[in-house]
C-alpha cells in the first residue's frame, strides 16, 4: 500500500512524540507507576487502542517491523486496521509472525512464543488504575499508590474467594511490580501474567482515554497478588487445541453450530499456524485427514 503523503512519519508530529517519549522514559524509570501524558485525538475512537497507537507511533523507526494482535489473532479488524495505519503513515514493514517483529502492539494477549530482548510489547489499556472499581476517587487512589496502601486490592481477592471459593478474577489480574507499585497488566488473561515476570522484552502500556503511560522494564520482578493459602494459579484446559494439538497454550472456545458443538483452539493464531506447518495436528484436523 502506498505511503500517505501530508502526514509526519508515523502520523504524530515530532513534538508530540517527544512528549510521549519523555513519559515513556519516566515510566521505565519507575516501573509500574502511571505517568500522566497529554494524550492526543487519534483518527479512531477511544477504546480501539488510541493509547497503544500513540506509544507505537512514538517509538517506531523506519527499520522496525510491526506486529499487531487483538485477542491473540492477527486477522481481526482492529489488528488489521492498526497494521494498515502504520504501513500507510510510516511505510514500515509489518508481519504476523512473532519472531520477525520487534514491536508488537497488543490488546488482550501476550504471544505464546518466548519474547526476546530486542522486542518491545505495546499494550492497549482501557483502564490503567487497578484500584478504580474499589476506590472511585482518583485523588485517593494516587495517594494510596504513593503510600503503598494496597490492602484494598486484597479485599477484592477476598471477596472472590468468599463468593466463588477461589480467586475468580481471570483477566486484568493485579500485579505488584518490583515489590512496589500495584499495576493493572491491561485486560490480558491471568494466563499471561507469568510471561511479564522477568521478561527480556520491554513492556509499555498506553491508555489513551485515561491519558496514562506505564511500563515494565526487562527482567523486572512482577508478582501476581494472592493469598498464602490461595496462591496465584493460571487457567488450564482439559482439551488440547483442536487444530494444532497444543496443550500449554491459551485456548479460545469456539461455538461451531447451534447444536452445542464447540471446539477449543489456540487464541494465538501465529503460534497455532506455525505448529501446524511443523506437522502438528489437533483432533479436528486429524479427523479431517482420516476422511
Amino acid at each position: 500500500m502506498a505511503e500517505t503523503s501530508g502526514y509526519n512519519f508515523a502520523y504524530l508530529d515530532e513534538q508530540t512524540k517527544r512528549m510521549i517519549r519523555r513519559a515513556l522514559l519516566k515510566a521505565i524509570a519507575v516501573p509500574g507507576y502511571q505517568v500522566p501524558f497529554a494524550s492526543r485525538e487519534m483518527p479512531m475512537p477511544y477504546g480501539w487502542g488510541t493509547g497503544g497507537i500513540q506509544v507505537t507511533a512514538s517509538i517506531v523507526g523506519r527499520d522496525d517491523v510491526l506486529k499487531v494482535i487483538d485477542q491473540g489473532a492477527d486477522d481481526t479488524t482492529n489488528a488489521v486496521s492498526i497494521r494498515k495505519f502504520f504501513k500507510r503513515t510510516a511505510g514500515i514493514e509489518t508481519t504476523t509472525q512473532t519472531h520477525e517483529a520487534n514491536i508488537i502492539q497488543t490488546r488482550h494477549r501476550i504471544p505464546e512464543e518466548d519474547l526476546r530482548a530486542d522486542q518491545i510489547m505495546v499494550f492497549q489499556v482501557p483502564i490503567p488504575e487497578p484500584l478504580r472499581f474499589l476506590e472511585p476517587r482518583e485523588t485517593e487512589t494516587r495517594k494510596m499508590h504513593a503510600l503503598e496502601e494496597y490492602g484494598l486490592m486484597h479485599v477484592k481477592l477476598y471477596e472472590d474467594i468468599s463468593q466463588h471459593g477461589h480467586i475468580a478474577t481471570t483477566y486484568a489480574y493485579p500485579v505488584a511490580v518490583k515489590q512496589r507499585y500495584v499495576m493493572d497488566p491491561s485486560p490480558i488473561p491471568k494466563f499471561d501474567n507469568p510471561k511479564i515476570n522477568r521478561s527480556p522484552a520491554l513492556m509499555l502500556f498506553g491508555a489513551g482515554r485515561e491519558k496514562r503511560i506505564y511500563a515494565v522494564p526487562p527482567f523486572t520482578d512482577v508478582h501476581s497478588l494472592d493469598f498464602e493459602d490461595f496462591p496465584f494459579e493460571i487457567q488450564t484446559w482439559r482439551e488440547a487445541c483442536a487444530l494444532c494439538g497444543a496443550t500449554g497454550s491459551f485456548l479460545d472456545e469456539i461455538v461451531t453450530d447451534d447444536a452445542g458443538g464447540r471446539m477449543f483452539v489456540c487464541s494465538d493464531t501465529d503460534f497455532c499456524e506455525k505448529r501446524r506447518e511443523a506437522g502438528h495436528a489437533g483432533p479436528a484436523l486429524a479427523a479431517e485427514g482420516a476422511v
Binding site: 484494598l152 477476598y158 471477596e159 468468599s162 493469598f227 493459602d229
Partner: protein, 260 residues
C-alpha cells in the same frame, strides 16, 4: 498495655473556625488509657468539629493534639508524616460513624469489611482473615452465617455493630464515636450500648464519645464534657456533672431530659 499513669491523648488549646463561624474554641483535655470521655451538647455546639479535629480528620486552626504512640512517645498528630498518621488511623485508632454507611464498604461482604483493616496491615492468609472476621462477628452478636452477605442486607443495628467489629479488629487503643446510637430505635440502642460497654471494659479501650443523648453518656462515659457555643462550659465525672450541674447551660440540658 503501657504505663497507665501517662495520658494517651492530650489536647491543648484546640480551636477551629469555619470562616466567621466558630467550630470550637480553646478546648483542652487529657484522656488516659481505658477511660471513656463523653462529649455532650446541643446540635451545633461544636461536638463533631472537636471529634474530627482530635481524630486527625480535620486540621484545627490552633492548638495541639498529642497522642502517645506504642513506642511511648507523645507526638503531635499534625506534625507526623502522612503515612504515619494514616497508619495510626487504621491500626491504633478506630472511628465509628453515626451513619454506618459512612464507615462501611457497602459493596463488599461483611467478612471483607471486617478483614479490610487486617489486609491493610499486611495479613495475607485467607483462612486467618476469615477466622478473625468470624470471631468478631460473633463478638458483636451477628450470626456468623451472614459473613458473606452484603451490609446493605443488614438492619441498621446490625450495620452499626458490623462497623464496630470492623474497627476493633486490629486491636485499637483509642476509639472515636460520633453519635453511635443515633438513628436506632430504643431497644436496639440498649443492646448496642450493652455491647459497647462490654467491649470497652473487656479490651481496656479509651474512647471519646460524642452524643446528644445524656442517657448514652451516663451509661458509657466515665467523664463528661459539656459543650455550648463551641466552648467546653463544664467538665467532670459523669455522675457529678449530671447530678449536680453547675453551669446554667448544663442545668438546662439536664432538666430538659424527660424522666420516664
Amino acid at each position: 498495655m503501657s504505663d497507665n499513669h501517662e495520658p494517651l491523648l492530650v489536647v491543648d488549646g484546640l480551636s477551629k473556625r469555619y470562616g466567621a463561624q466558630l467550630g470550637c474554641r480553646d478546648v483542652g483535655f487529657s484522656l488516659w488509657p481505658g477511660e471513656v470521655v463523653g462529649v455532650v451538647g446541643e446540635s451545633g455546639s461544636g461536638k463533631t468539629t472537636l471529634l474530627n479535629c482530635i481524630s486527625a480528620r480535620l486540621t484545627p486552626d490552633d492548638g495541639v493534639v498529642r497522642y502517645r504512640t506504642r513506642l511511648g512517645t507523645l507526638s503531635d498528630i499534625y506534625q507526623m508524616s502522612e503515612p504515619e498518621r494514616r497508619m495510626l488511623m487504621r491500626t491504633d485508632w478506630a472511628f465509628v460513624h453515626q451513619n454506618p454507611r459512612d464507615g462501611l464498604r457497602m459493596k463488599v461482604s461483611a467478612g471483607a469489611n471486617v478483614g479490610e483493616r487486617l489486609m491493610a496491615v499486611g495479613a495475607r492468609h485467607y483462612g486467618n482473615i476469615r477466622g478473625a472476621a468470624d470471631d468478631w462477628l460473633s463478638k458483636v452478636e451477628i450470626d456468623t452465617g451472614r459473613i458473606d452477605d452484603l451490609p446493605a442486607t443488614f438492619s441498621g443495628g446490625m450495620q452499626q455493630r458490623l462497623q464496630i467489629a470492623r474497627n476493633l479488629v486490629t486491636g485499637p487503643r483509642l476509639v472515636f464515636m460520633d453519635e453511635p446510637t443515633g438513628g436506632l430505635d430504643v431497644s436496639v440502642q440498649a443492646r448496642l450500648l450493652d455491647l459497647m460497654r462490654g467491649l470497652v471494659g473487656e479490651l481496656g479501650l479509651a474512647a471519646v464519645i460524642v452524643t446528644h443523648d445524656l442517657a448514652v453518656a451516663r451509661l458509657l462515659s466515665h467523664r463528661l464534657m459539656v459543650m455550648w457555643r463551641g466552648e467546653v462550659v463544664e467538665q467532670g465525672l459523669t455522675d457529678q456533672v449530671l447530678d449536680d450541674p453547675q453551669h446554667p447551660y448544663t442545668q438546662l440540658l439536664v432538666s430538659s431530659v424527660l424522666q420516664p
